[in-house]
């Protein structure tokens, strides 16, 4: 760079914005950085992280390699208790990091009550609540049972779940079937019609889909997600293309494997009437892929990012089973008529697993139909995706965004980059009413809080 005087001056300006303008006004080249101060990680931890930078980089490269190599296939369905490791009749899984009954938010409590009713363990909501409060059941995060759940994410023993196998590594992930919008369990509703729908899903939808999936010999979810991105989905807040593609892939097998034409019709109508049906497949697909990247010593790549409506938690590849948490923020959202931010529950759900593997908010540039959530213009959406490249370890070699000239989505969140740059992941999200049973009140976006990332980096530093 000693040839500074003989080449044109190209400046990067970090700090005072007017300097950038005056350089360009006087004929120079300048790029302004929208700089933010780094997060307040303890100096000792930062020192250790810097001293191990090469090791971290290599570990992250390995973690990303595994993510790129992941091959999530929908291979079957079963009852949760029969297929999820460590599941039991009195165990209830939930979204986000671990939480006790007394700290659960309204929608999560409502979903728990609904699940108890669904399992037939209580005759009324009051009785279910009493049992739950008295400690009759055990709670655990979905994430600790190879599972993920949208919003409250409650999984109970007899719920049917999709089985996704990451065929490149042999590990599996699980997720329930999506109930649709309106009053649904995942938003904490537990009225009789909610339970009735769940029962129909167990008794009619599940057997039909199970038969169809088995007949099909397995469905390649990576391929569907890649195509959905080209069709305007980011597979978190928009799953219309993914749902359609799934239906296209399943229908021949459904027709061949199920005898009753009325059942076939109801199954197709149900899926067709629920644009989010594919979310419960994109999520476990991401989970299966990220689980294969766990436990790489020194890796600062996130393998989970999840909220239980009270806490926001993350896990790193290099920090084992530790959760790092902070308070979950209330999303910045567009609200359905009659609701405001005052009605909103803090962020909830395991669906941020999509962002964790480079989809959702990270791929929002692929989904112009939902840019109203991020300011209204396609340019805004692209800028959000561009920003996420700053904290990503790499770019996806399968998931690509047409509007960015088919650039791969920003993939593999690096907790160290997050704290160094003061940029937190950008997450698409639905918003639950803070009271149990009301349901969804809006949809929007949320920036992850910085606190879990600071703790995670300090936790990783503690392992060197």
């Amino acid at each position: 760079m000693s040839d500074l005087f003989s080449s044109p001056l190209n400046v990067i300006n970090i700090g005072v914005e007017s300097f950038d303008q005056s350089i360009r006004d006087s004929g120079g080249q300048s790029i302004h950085v929208e700089w933010r101060p780094p997060a307040g990680v303890s100096p000792e931890a930062l020192e250790r992280i810097r001293a191990n930078a090469d090791r971290i980089e290599q570990a992250n490269a390995e973690a990303l390699k595994r993510v790129q190599a992941g091959k999530p296939m929908l291979v079957g369905m079963d009852k949760a208790v029969d297929v999820i490791p460590g599941m039991g009749k009195t165990r209830f899984l939930h979204a986000g990091p671990p939480i006790t009954w007394d700290r659960m938010c309204g929608p999560l409590k409502g979903a728990m009550i609904g699940a108890v009713l669904y399992e037939g363990l209580a005759a009324s909501g009051e009785e279910a609540e009493k049992q739950l409060a008295e400690g009759a059941y055990s709670f655990a995060p979905c994430h600790e049972h190879s599972s993920v759940g949208p919003m409250a994410g409650v999984v109970s023993a007899s719920m049917p779940v999709f089985i996704i196998e990451n065929t490149a590594f042999g590990n599996r992930a699980f997720c329930t079937q999506n109930e649709g919008l309106g009053k649904v369990l995942r938003y904490g509703a537990y009225a009789p019609e909610v339970i009735e729908r769940l029962k129909w899903m167990e008794n009619e939808l599940y057997p039909a889909l199970k038969a169809a999936i088995e007949h099909s010999g397995g469905i390649d979810l990576k391929s569907i997600i890649a195509q959905a991105l080209h069709m305007g989905d980011e597979v978190h807040n928009r799953n219309r293309a993914g749902t359609s593609l799934l239906l296209r892939a399943l229908t021949p097998s459904l027709v061949r494997a199920v005898k009753d034409r009325e059942i076939i019709a109801r199954v197709i109508e149900f899926i067709n009437g629920n644009d989010h049906f594919f979310l419960n497949l994109s999520m476990p697909a991401c989970k299966a892929v990220l689980d294969a990247a766990q436990d790489i010593p020194a890796a600062s790549m996130l393998v989970a990012m999840a909220r239980n409506g009270t806490d926001f938690g993350i896990r790193l590849s290099g920090t084992g089973t530790d959760w790092f948490t902070g308070p979950a923020p209330v999303p910045d959202a567009l609200f359905f008529p009659g609701f405001t931010k005052d009605d909103a529950n803090p962020d909830i759900g395991d669906s941020a697993i999509t962002e964790t593997s480079g989809l959702g908010g990270f791929a929002i540039a692929a989904a112009p139909a939902i840019v109203q959530f991020v300011g209204g213009s396609a340019g805004d959406a692209m800028n959000y995706t561009y920003e996420m490249y700053e904290i990503a370890i790499g770019e996806n070699d399968m998931y690509r965004i047409p509007a960015l000239d088919f650039r791969g989505t920003p993939t593999g969140i690096d907790a160290v980059r997050v704290v160094e740059k003061g940029i937190t992941p950008f997450i698409d999200t639905g918003v639950a009413h803070k009271d149990a049973g009301v349901g969804q009140v809006g949809a929007g976006v949320v920036s992850a809080p910085i606190e879990p990332f600071v703790k995670a980096v300090e936790g990783l530093a503690g392992r060197f």
Partner: protein
């Protein structure tokens, strides 16, 4: 009086943007004081000191934005808070809807690999980390940020030197690289004269005067004021000199700094002697003989340094240039006679109010031998008891920390000095007010419009009490500067202020006027 405050989380703004917001709030009628700052420990201390920090905001986090407004009543204070937020959100909006701008150095470098220089002006505690990353990525650094620890400066320059990379700064306010003015810099002609300076406004003056003389600047490199200290060892000076040595477009070199530590001068001397190009050196108050020994031609003022360089480049005898300046000085005699004759008997003191650090240094150096004791906030042997109040002969550098913490620099915001001008004018013992105006990028864009009414008012104040106030203004800049130098000079002249093109001339005229007073008075006594 009512104080209201508010914390905004999760957003970051640079300090200059925030000061502009504060300024907009301050301009609202009924608003007494306002602070819009990132809630760092240091900023909270300042806000607290000014009585604006409500107890409930003492725990605001470092990355929070803190807005405080003090006003006549609650309604006005609330309106002030609302105004601050409006201005801030207007800013965010344009930022977000425009083309994507990278969020970090690494992100910017990935998108723009042909970058060769990074200009860093983030708060001091973060600046070293950004500079280190820049150097590790093999790019030159201009470090505008101040409050960078000395040990960081040393480490950065030691990292840079073997790579042949420049670290201009910390606290480097000005540079011109490949004809592009950086930070606070003037629009000068390109030409054969290269500069290295540990003096920000000094570099602005030298480059402007060279350009106004019809010559031009190849490169102007700033080093930061501490570079010539023994601890730093002139590392940036040496890299700068080597780069100018290898630059075929540079034929004469000008150095500007406070006198280097002897060890550093020795090192620089070796570089100067093998440079193969004439070197003019201005070390304020330093020994000219030491400069000659070091292989350079000594200059006594910024103006003289510029004239010497231009003469050398033109192959002229440097003596001629010096003689011309002496001749110019003679022309000041008449002005001095005329002005001093109008002064009232008890008007006897000089009040120098400077925005440019180098200029206050230069004025002090030139006038001390003549006026004896000059009180100053930059003079340890005659420190002002209170920098906010002048005593006898006083020269203040309004760019020093006591005036700039939490406020825009006086080169940008004139309000502090404007108030001070009126205070000096009201003092019956003030004879001469000496001021500087610095043009160029970064500085106040309407200096004449903001200063002239104040000068008129100052002179009226004096006249109404039967006094005549001598106001001398030096203007540093070029006709190419965005403020339009001719317009600035002409507008200031309409106030009957005396406008000169260098601090040295302005200071010398001030000295002559004051010494005339003494002579006139002793004549009367006889």
């Amino acid at each position: 009086m009512k104080i209201k405050a508010k914390v905004v989380s999760g957003r970051y703004f640079d300090s200059v943007s925030l000061m502009r917001v504060a300024r907009e709030v301050l301009q609202m009628p009924g608003v007494e004081d306002a602070a819009v700052v990132m809630a760092t420990a240091k900023n909270k201390e300042i806000v607290d000191a000014s009585g604006l920090l409500l107890p409930e905001f003492k725990n605001a986090a470092e990355n929070d934005l803190l807005i405080c407004v003090k006003a006549d009543n609650e309604k006005t204070a609330d309106a002030g808070l609302a105004q601050a937020e409006t201005v801030l959100s207007a800013k965010t909006k344009t930022g977000e809807t425009g083309a994507f701008r990278p969020r970090s150095l690494a992100g910017a470098l990935a998108e723009h690999p042909d970058t060769n220089l990074v200009l860093i002006s983030v708060p001091g505690q973060y600046a070293s980390a950004e500079a280190r990353k820049t150097l590790e990525a093999g790019r030159h650094v201009m470090l505008f940020s101040d409050n960078v620890p000395l040990e960081d400066e040393i480490a950065l320059k030691q990292l840079a030197a073997p790579k042949g990379l420049l670290v201009m700064g910390p606290d480097c306010g000005t540079a011109i690289i490949n004809g592009v003015p950086l930070a606070f810099a003037n629009v000068v002609r390109r030409g054969p004269i290269g500069c290295v300076a540990a003096a920000g406004t000094g570099l602005q003056a030298v480059t402007s005067i060279i350009s106004n003389l019809g010559s031009g600047i190849s490169q102007a490199i700033g080093t930061g004021g501490r570079d010539i200290k023994k601890a730093v060892g002139g590392l940036a000076f040496r890299t700068g000199l080597t780069m100018l040595k290898n630059d075929p477009d540079t034929r004469v070199v000008v150095l500007t700094a406070k006198p280097p530590d002897p060890e550093v001068l020795e090192i620089l001397s070796a570089e100067i002697k093998q440079l193969g190009k004439p070197v003019v050196a201005l070390f304020f108050g330093g020994d000219p003989e030491a400069v000659r020994k070091a292989g350079a031609i000594p200059a006594s003022t910024l103006e003289e340094a510029a004239h010497l360089a231009v003469a050398l480049e033109a192959g002229e005898n440097p003596e001629m240039a010096v003689n011309r300046l002496v001749l110019h000085e003679k022309n000041l005699e008449e002005t001095a006679n005329e002005t001093s004759a109008h002064l009232a008997p008890n008007q006897k003191y000089l009040r120098g109010l400077f925005c440019g650090g180098t200029f206050s240094q230069e004025a002090l150096t030139l006038l001390k031998p003549q006026l004896g004791k000059i009180h100053s906030n930059i003079s340890p042997d005659a420190a002002l008891p209170d920098a906010w109040k002048s005593v006898e002969h006083t020269i203040v550098d309004l760019g020093e920390d006591e005036f700039t913490v939490g406020r825009p620099h006086p080169m940008i915001d004139f309000s502090l000095r404007n108030r001070r001008i009126l205070e000096e004018a009201a003092d019956p013992e003030t004879a001469v007010i000496l001021l500087d105006v610095v043009l160029g990028y970064g500085s106040n864009m309407q200096p004449a419009e903001e200063l002239s009414p104040v000068l008129m008012k100052a002179m009226e104040t004096a006249e109404s009490s039967g006094r005549h106030l001598a106001v001398i203004v030096s203007v540093t800049g070029t006709p190419g500067d965005p403020q339009n130098m001719d317009h600035v000079v002409n507008t200031l002249k309409t106030t009957s202020a005396i406008v000169l093109s260098s601090t040295a001339a302005a200071a010398k005229l001030a000295g002559k006027i004051i010494s005339r007073i003494d002579t006139n008075r002793s004549t009367r006594h006889e």
